[in-house]
C-alpha cells in the first residue's frame, strides 16, 4: 500500500471527522434522524458550557478522577509487583500460576456484586473494580517483560559483582523490562478509564452516574458532552504518559 504524505494524511483525517459531524447535523435538520434520540452537534458546546457553569462538570470529573487514580495506582503497583516477583522467583511463580489462570479471565465488571457487598455503593467499590482490570494488564506485561530479559545481562551482573537478588532486580530486571512494563502501565491507563464509567453506572458519583441521570431524562446532548469528556481526558492522560515514557526510554531510540 502506498503511504500518504503526513500533511495529506492529517488533512484527510480532519476532513473526514468534520464531514461526518456536518452530515449528522444535516440529517437532524432535514428530519432524517429523530431529534429526540440523537442531539444536534451544534448544541453540544452550549450544553458543555452550562455543565461547566453549574459546576457539575468539574464535580463529576473530579469524582471520577479520584477513584480512577486510586484504582490505577493500586492496580498498577500490585500488578507490577506480583508480575515481576512471579517472573523472578520460581516458587512464587508456581504458587500463583493456577490462581492467576483461574482469576484472570474474569472481567473487572463481574466483580461489581462483590464490590458492592464488601464496600457498598462507595468510591472504594469503584476503585476496587478499576484496580482489578489494571492489575491484570500490568501483571501480565511485567511478567512477560521480565521473563524476556536476556540471560546474558545476568551473567554480566554476576561477573561484575552484582549477583545479589536486589542488585539484579534494580540493575537488570527492572531497567531491561522497562519498555514492556511501561507499555503495560499505558494499557492499564486506558483500561482503567474504560472501567470508571461502567463502575459508576451503579450509582457511584462521577461521570458515569451523571450520564445515567441524563439518559433517564433523554438529555442526549448531556450524554454526548460526557462521552467527549471521557475521550478528551483519555487523550490527555495518554499524551502525558507518552511524553514521560519517551523520556524514560530515551536510551532506546
Amino acid at each position: 500500500m502506498k503511504r500518504l504524505a503526513r500533511h495529506r494524511r492529517t488533512l484527510i483525517s480532519a476532513a473526514s471527522l468534520v464531514g461526518l459531524v456536518a452530515l449528522w447535523e444535516l440529517a437532524l435538520r432535514l428530519g432524517w434522524l429523530p431529534g429526540n434520540l440523537v442531539p444536534l452537534p451544534s448544541s453540544i458546546p452550549a450544553v458543555l458550557w452550562a455543565e461547566i457553569h453549574d459546576g457539575i462538570w468539574l464535580e463529576v470529573v473530579l469524582a471520577s478522577l479520584s477513584h480512577y487514580s486510586v484504582g490505577l495506582a493500586i492496580g498498577s503497583v500490585l500488578g507490577i509487583a506480583v508480575g515481576v516477583a512471579a517472573a523472578l522467583v520460581p516458587t512464587f511463580d508456581a504458587a500463583q500460576s493456577w490462581l492467576a489462570r483461574l482469576l484472570r479471565p474474569i472481567p473487572p465488571l463481574a466483580w461489581i456484586p462483590f464490590a458492592i457487598i464488601w464496600f457498598g455503593v462507595t468510591e472504594t467499590a469503584a476503585a476496587f473494580i478499576i484496580s482489578i482490570g489494571v492489575f491484570w494488564i500490568n501483571y501480565f506485561t511485567s511478567y512477560s517483560a521480565v521473563r524476556a530479559v536476556d540471560d546474558g545481562y545476568y551473567e554480566v551482573a554476576q561477573a561484575f559483582g552484582q549477583g545479589r537478588f536486589t542488585a539484579r532486580l534494580a540493575k537488570i530486571s527492572l531497567p531491561a523490562a522497562a519498555p514492556g512494563i511501561l507499555g503495560g502501565l499505558r494499557a492499564g491507563l486506558g483500561q482503567g478509564w474504560m472501567t470508571v464509567v461502567a463502575a459508576e453506572l451503579f450509582g457511584i458519583p462521577g461521570i458515569g452516574q451523571r450520564m445515567m441521570e441524563a439518559s433517564g431524562l433523554l438529555a442526549t446532548d448531556v450524554v454526548v458532552v460526557y462521552m467527549l469528556t471521557i475521550a478528551a481526558l483519555y487523550a490527555l492522560f495518554d499524551f502525558l504518559f507518552m511524553s514521560i515514557q519517551r523520556r524514560a526510554l530515551r536510551w532506546q531510540n
Binding site: A159, Q162, A176, W251, Q252
Partner: protein, 266 residues
C-alpha cells in the same frame, strides 16, 4: 613461569586449576585440565569450536562449578578492586546505561563515592580512546567501540585476572586487527593476568605468552589440554618475525584443523 602440569599449585600463580572436569548433565566435555597463570601473564586458550573453551573460561572465573577438580583464584589485589572481570564475545553493554555508567558497573558496591566511581571509570575509557563518548548511549556506538567499552568496563575494577571470551570474533577484520594491536598495548599498562579464549590461532600467537591447546583425542573421549606452547617472541611486530608462522603451524597441527599448504600435493 609456572610449569603447566605441576601437581601442586604454583606458589605465585594468580589462577590455578587442577583436574578440572566440565560437562552438561552426564556428558563430560572437558577433563583433567591443569593450568597455572602467573601474575601479568597472557594465556590464550585455543581449540576447535565445541571443545569447551568458553565453558572452561567460565569455570576458571567461578561462574560455573566444575563436576570435578579445583580452581583457585587469587583474591582482589588492592582496595576497591575485584579479583577478576570478564570481556564477553558480544559486548553485552547495558543499553539503558550511558557508556560511563556501563564502565562503572563493577565499581558499584565497592564503597566508592559517586565522584570516585566516575574518575575510576574515566581512566580506562581514556585508555581505550573513548573518553569523549562517555555520555553517549551504547546504541550510538559501532561494534568495535562497544567492545572497547566492554574492555574498559573490565579494566575499571583493576582485576588480578582478566578473562576474555573470544572478544574480537564478532568484529569485522579491520576492527579486529586494530583491537588486537590495542590489547597488546593495554597489557603494558595493566597489571592483570589475561586468560584469552579464541578459535583464531594467529590471534593467540600474536598476543599470548603461552598458548594452551584444547583438543579431543578422539570422538568418544572428552577434550583435554593437548599442548602448551610458549611464545618466546617479542611483542613488537610479532607477525613479521620468523618464528611466528612456525608457532601457528605447530598449533594448527595440534588443534586438528586442515592445514592446506601441507596437504596440497606440490
Amino acid at each position: 613461569m609456572a610449569e603447566l602440569t605441576s601437581p601442586s599449585p604454583a606458589a605465585d600463580a594468580v589462577l590455578s586449576a587442577r583436574g578440572v572436569r566440565l560437562g552438561f548433565a552426564g556428558d563430560v566435555v572437558l577433563d583433567g585440565v591443569d593450568l597455572d597463570v602467573a601474575p601479568r601473564e597472557f594465556v590464550a586458550v585455543v581449540g576447535a569450536s565445541g571443545v569447551g573453551k568458553s565453558t572452561l573460561l567460565r569455570a576458571l572465573a567461578g561462574l560455573l562449578t566444575p563436576q570435578h577438580g579445583e580452581v583457585h583464584l587469587s583474591a582482589a589485589g588492592e582496595p576497591a578492586s575485584r579479583a577478576w572481570s570478564m570481556v564477553f564475545q558480544a559486548p553485552r553493554l547495558f543499553p539503558w546505561r550511558r557508556v560511563r555508567a556501563n564502565v562503572e558497573l563493577g565499581l558499584e558496591g565497592l564503597g566508592l563515592s559517586r565522584a570516585e566511581r566516575r574518575a575510576r571509570a574515566m581512566a580506562p575509557l581514556e585508555l581505550v580512546g573513548l573518553a569523549p563518548l562517555a555520555e553517549r548511549w551504547p546504541r550510538t556506538l559501532s561494534g568495535g567501540q562497544q567492545q572497547r567499552v566492554g574492555i574498559a568496563r573490565a579494566l575499571a575494577v583493576k582485576p588480578r585476572v582478566l578473562f576474555m571470551d573470544e572478544p574480537f570474533s564478532a568484529l569485522d577484520a579491520l576492527t579486529r586487527q586494530r583491537l588486537q594491536g590495542e590489547l597488546a598495548e593495554l597489557r603494558r599498562r595493566s597489571d592483570a593476568a589475561i586468560v584469552f579464549v579464541t578459535h583464531d590461532i594467529e590471534e593467540a600467537v600474536l598476543l599470548a605468552d603461552r598458548v594452551v591447546v584444547l583438543a579431543r583425542p578422539d570422538e568418544h573421549t572428552p577434550a583435554g589440554v593437548r599442548d602448551i606452547v610458549t611464545i618466546d617472541l617479542p611483542l613488537d611486530q610479532r607477525r613479521a618475525q620468523a618464528g611466528f608462522r612456525d608457532h601457528v603451524q605447530r598449533l594448527e597441527r595440534h588443534i586438528g584443523v586442515a592445514v592446506t599448504h601441507e596437504e596440497t600435493p606440490s
